[in-house]
């Protein structure tokens, strides 16, 4: 069993706190050590928290539509900070308005996220993916 510390939070000027609490609860139940930096989190705060705790993954939530602006450059900032290989997930209502999912997903994969989740994804799905990506067996 390897390192299971992850950082999660809601990026930008977004204050949606409910899903954030549920992610914390669900990942903790699933055996992860969850460092929750909460809402209104900047890219720097995610990275700082990941470095301080030696996290293996950063899970970024965005519910309010500005995710596209807020997430740009996060991978590059991770590289500059010396954690360029960290696993990055993003999920939520990532863009303004109802848009086709595939192009949105492509946009975020291109930004350097390892996985991207559409609205309405249950935490269990991301938990299963993260266990796979970290080679953790149940």
């Amino acid at each position: 069993m390897g390192n299971k510390t992850i950082v999660t939070g809601v990026i930008g000027a977004d204050v949606h706190a409910v899903g954030n609490r549920i992610i914390e609860y669900a990942f903790t139940q699933a055996g992860f050590n969850v460092v929750n930096i909460g809402v209104l989190a900047s890219q720097e705060e995610f990275i700082q928290a990941a470095i301080e705790t030696g996290a293996v993954a950063i899970l970024v939530s965005s519910l309010y539509g500005h995710g596209e602006i807020d997430c740009r450059g996060l991978r590059e900032k991770c590289q500059e900070a010396g954690i360029g290989d960290i696993i990055l997930y993003a999920g939520g209502n990532l863009v303004v308005g109802k848009q086709e999912w595939e192009p949105v997903k492509e946009k975020f994969l291109k930004m350097g996220f390892n996985r991207v989740y559409p609205p309405g994804t249950s935490p269990e799905e991301a938990i299963a993916d993260l266990k796979r990506d970290l080679n953790i067996e149940d």
Binding site: G12, A13, D14, V15, A17, V18, N20, R21, I22, Y25, G38, V39, L40, L63, Y64, G65, H66, E68, I69, N93, V95, V96, G97, K98, P119, G120
Partner: protein
């Protein structure tokens, strides 16, 4: 800062005003407050929000209002015109983007520029501060109905100065309702003080013959908030506003989903707020109500979403809310298109028109529900007043510290976050954990009994899992989150 619930002098307002207007360059356009008052006074009666609300209240009808806002001015005007003409909106909003709400005007500017470049709105609302006075006036001048500022801004002073001078006649928010659900690290002392400024500004307009309506944000976190919590916050904000000279107030409540509880909540909100304003000596205040269609997670399927919207429309009308804030079939996906927004309005209006001549008759269940909401709300308000040594401003700050008022699932660290709500077996919202709310044994036993009845019916012990199941339930097509 010595925070007290006491009316500010005009001198105090004007001296702080100078600092507020200097926080972004568009502030200088509203320096002459007399010019804003003059502009407001020249507006036709049809654009005065409070008058339209009072007329609806008198007639016993429910008005419909959407949420809407995009990054650019022309597009924003086109959106509002569409919602007015095609959607039949009785009242219009300008929903403000999230950067402006955090006073991040540089980022809002970036959003405006990127929206121009890409030909679509990259902001989730209308950045009114960046656009400034003249552009905001164009919004008001290009529609035929009253326009309200809807946002979620802890420090909304500059936004108020610009939009009120621009002819908006209703302003949403409050020092509690736009802090605890909308901020993480801002103290209540600061937001209540900053909202005293906004309320005093509106009081100043009133003293100069201008009627601006104020609407504390009722649904708070929109996540299983029991009526007593949102009522207590709404009434405290109403008192704080009234003290600063606000005369027209719309108090809000977010749909829970159980018809009896929702109707009881709407009726008690009107009754209790009038009672408390009277009791504390605020005469000639006009109270109307707003009902928010379900504020939690929505089904992705648009037909199912219309089901949720219609149930909210029916409840608002049967509860005789003065207005209803409408959701859209795109709710699960974020910001709606103008077409989807108009569809939500039309579905709502259909229900409003069909039900406007019907009422919910009094019943044992309705009276019992009203009784419990009143008892709980009074318990909280009286405890706030006591801990504040007779002062609601001091009391609400200390009350949050002590957890005698506590909002579920709020991001603010100034909120205790101890209470846990869950639905009972009929779908009404009760407390699985009442935290430090100042309830007597009778009230606590009532909640325990109600939740236990559901646990028994589902064959499980009530726990946090039940809360999570309830949060997801409506999105999955149910009201009560039953185990599979």
């Amino acid at each position: 800062m010595d925070l007290v619930n006491k009316k500010w002098s005009v001198d105090k307002l004007m001296s702080i005003r100078k600092e507020v207007l200097a926080t972004w360059h568009t502030g200088k356009d509203v320096e002459d407050i007399e010019e804003g008052i003059k502009y407001q006074k020249a507006l036709p009666k049809s654009k005065i929000f409070a008058l339209k609300l009072l007329e609806a209240k008198e007639k016993g009808i429910t008005l419909v209002q959407p949420r809407a806002g995009v990054a650019l001015v022309n597009e924003h005007i086109a959106l509002l015109q569409y919602l007015q003409n095609e959607g039949g909106a009785d009242l219009l909003p300008s929903t403000i983007d999230s950067y402006t709400r955090q006073n991040r005007y540089e980022e809002a500017q970036k959003g405006i520029e990127e929206s121009i470049k890409s030909g679509r709105s990259l902001l989730n609302g209308f950045p009114a501060v960046n656009h400034g006075l003249e552009n905001c006036r164009r919004v008001v001048e290009n529609v035929n109905v009253p326009v309200q500022v809807r946002h979620g801004t802890p420090d909304a002073r500059l936004l108020a100065e610009i939009t009120l001078a621009a002819g908006f006649t209703d302003y949403e928010g409050g020092g509690i309702s736009y802090n605890i659900p909308y901020a993480k690290n801002v103290s209540l002392e600061k937001t209540i003080y900053d909202w005293q400024y906004v309320d005093r500004l509106i009081g100043f307009y009133y003293e100069n013959g201008v009627i601006i309506n104020r609407e504390p944000f009722g649904p708070l976190t929109g996540t299983l908030v029991p009526p007593c919590i949102s009522h207590a916050v709404a009434i405290v904000e109403a008192i704080l506003a009234a003290e600063q000279g606000v005369h027209y107030l719309t108090l809000g409540y977010g749909q829970c989903g159980n018809l009896i509880q929702d109707v009881a909540a709407l009726q008690t909100l009107q009754e209790l707020s009038e009672e408390y304003l009277q009791k504390f000596g605020y005469e000639n205040r006009h109270i109307t109500t707003v009902f928010h269609q379900w504020m939690g997670g929505f089904p992705q399927d648009e037909a199912k979403a219309f089901g949720v919207i219609s149930w909210g429309a029916a409840t608002a009308t049967l509860g005789k809310a003065t207005k209803v804030i409408v959701k859209t079939p795109h709710e699960a996906m974020g910001i709606p298109t103008k077409e989807a927004n108009a569809q939500g309005l039309k579905a709502t209006k259909q229900l409003v028109n069909m039900l406007k001549d019907q009422t919910i008759p009094s019943s044992k269940e309705l009276e019992e529900e009203k009784e419990i909401i009143k008892k709980e709300t009074r318990a909280i308000l009286d405890a706030i007043l006591k801990i504040g040594e007779g002062d609601f401003a001091k009391g609400i700050v200390r009350g949050f510290e002590a957890g005698i008022i506590d909002i579920p699932f709020a991001p603010s660290r100034y909120n205790a976050g101890k209470i846990l709500p869950a639905r009972d077996n009929n779908g009404a919202i009760r407390l699985l954990d009442a935290g430090d709310l100042p309830f007597d044994k009778e009230i606590l036993d009532y909640h325990k009994k109600k939740i236990q009845q559901r646990g028994d019916a589902e064959g499980r012990e009530p726990s946090f899992q039940m809360v999570i199941d309830d949060i997801y339930a409506i999105g999955k097509g149910m009201l009560v989150g039953r185990p599979n």
